[in-house]
Symmetry: C3
Subunit: 248 residues, 3 copies
């Protein structure tokens, strides 16, 4: 299975062009759109999202993951990573740092292969998709194993909003296991109000219109409003900082 | 064929996660996104949409249909329904009532199977998708046939907007066969104007900018504007009530 | 491979319904969404987009391409075209004129086949998809070869914005090869400012927030802003006219 993770947008031709490469070069492999709307150019939010959502896919899954504001720069190298039995293909800009941190045995390779024709701005299609196709087919890719692990300066928990979903729920970079049921989440002050959110197990446990935090279905702390849009109500967006308050 | 119908949104990871389950558990089955943006939490609009749009799929199709504001509540039961030769897997909250009403032989089962791990808030992925996969593969699912049919208090025609599409067209819950060509559709007053819409066969039959109603390609009455956006022009949204006036 | 190009929108049931037809009538054929959000009803922008983006697909690809404000009118005929080794199925309204112009050997057929049931407003599903499925399977379609080529009044370069993507980049109808590196692109005056855009190879070559033009990964001139949204910053939308100034 090949899984796509990017900030390319659902609209326009980009995801379709990547899939056209995959269907031709890895025929018969299912291709899944996981995120096509990761926060644009936001590597840190994307790194936490990818780590949380990759977790539920089986071993052997190949992720073609591209959030790549530095595309076309010589400083940025194409790599692939093997961690928790899964493959991750993309840029070496930090996007894979949280995935790598989850597996002490993680190894990564600099990709030496180059396509005959490579655009300056669409390595997702021209370079990363062909490499993902080969890995999915169990084929060799010319690459150099790196002796050191990926840099990883970011902590386990990122106390910030990392994604607003279709319902307006705000996923955070905080592990669900890092908070106790009596932990309180403090939001930044808006209009003179500093909201304090308590835990609830699910929507049904709070009244309509009330904001709360819960443990989402992928192991992240998530902010929601029963039958409301947390993002708009609480003025949250990717990058909004949160404070965790644990009651003693 | 497995068909997805939900209010999960096209954005974000939810549809991808459901598909990952289906591709693993029902390999080789085509999976179609029918609606991923059914009106959020609006069971009634969704029930009419699903009934109208399921109709064009072949017998044997399995619908995994989830509009489920009560997810995680004990009161809400997971079910599957067999109607018009098709299978429908989802919550027992009324979403399938219009589909069931279309077939006097419709039968439904309470799903007794539970996954080893089930989140509180994403039964679409954890419970309904695996059941849909099994039904699509012709496998047994532990379930209890219910002796009575599904409750069905809603009438054949729901005189309201149930969906606004990409062009701004407003699908209604009114069967195309329920109106005569000389029927008039009254919209709620906006800015002191109460619009009266007449029938036209297609866009070409009215002048540019004119609002009208027509029989859409799935048997529903639909409100449109030639080369315009009916939803914005007429201030329509899912739930907007309509009045049918039949000229004598 | 069957490729979808339309203005149907990603939202709602239309693309899913087209795919349901294709999966049933051309089982095993990969189906790719290229554009589902071509500029609504804008045949000219769509014709240039289609020609630029079809180019990267292999010979034998079948495009089911529908931007069809005249659907349901008797004046508009359904056709298919063979150009550059690819097939294009859709309306004869000019959508294929740029694709046809790229191949002096292009030939086209009027489709004589009609489905048993055909809606007035959704020929994409009822007529074009079944024809695309047959062509993809190498089957005959009742059709009449036309003795003349498709009309083609539009020039090679269309100096206008033809699409705004998810990042806010503005694709233009100008071939990348038509401009020199010292060519300047003049935008229409907004708020008293008439912007003059210079060429850069990629985002990294200009400062953050600066607008420029570059050659995109599909051979079109594209307007972008480093880490910004060119569409909003420069008030561009499909149809916005541009002036090419070549420095002497």
């Amino acid at each position: 299975m090949i899984v796509l993770f990017s900030d390319f947008g659902l609209h326009g031709p980009y995801i379709g062009q990547v899939k056209a490469v995959l269907y031709q070069q890895a025929p018969g492999q299912p291709v899944i759109d996981l995120f096509s709307d990761a926060p644009v150019f936001d590597i840190r939010c994307s790194a936490y999202l990818l780590a949380a959502y990759a977790d539920s896919f089986p071993a052997g899954t190949v992720f073609c993951a591209v959030v790549d504001p530095g595309v076309g720069s010589d400083a940025r190298q194409p790599i692939f990573l093997h961690a928790r039995g899964q493959w991750f293909v993309g840029p070496d800009n930090g996007l894979f740092s949280r995935v790598a941190a989850a597996d002490p045995q993680a190894r990564y390779w600099r990709i030496d292969w180059r396509p005959e024709v490579c655009s300056d701005t669409f390595h997702g299609r021209d370079l990363f998709a062909p490499v993902a196709a080969r890995l999915a087919c169990g084929e060799q890719v010319p690459a150099t194993l790196q002796s050191q692990g990926l840099d990883n300066d970011w902590p386990l928990d990122y106390p910030a909003v990392i994604y607003i979903d279709h319902f307006g729920n705000a996923m955070t970079g905080i592990q669900a296991t890092s908070l106790r049921d009596d932990s309180v989440l403090l939001l930044p002050e808006t209009d003179g109000i500093a909201r304090r959110l308590n835990y609830a197990r699910t929507y049904q446990d709070v009244s309509v219109g009330q904001a709360f935090w819960y443990r989402n279905a992928n192991g992240l702390v998530e902010i929601a409003v029963n039958q409301g849009h947390a993002g708009r109500l609480c003025e949250l967006k990717p990058g909004t900082a949160l404070v965790i308050q644990s009651v003693v």
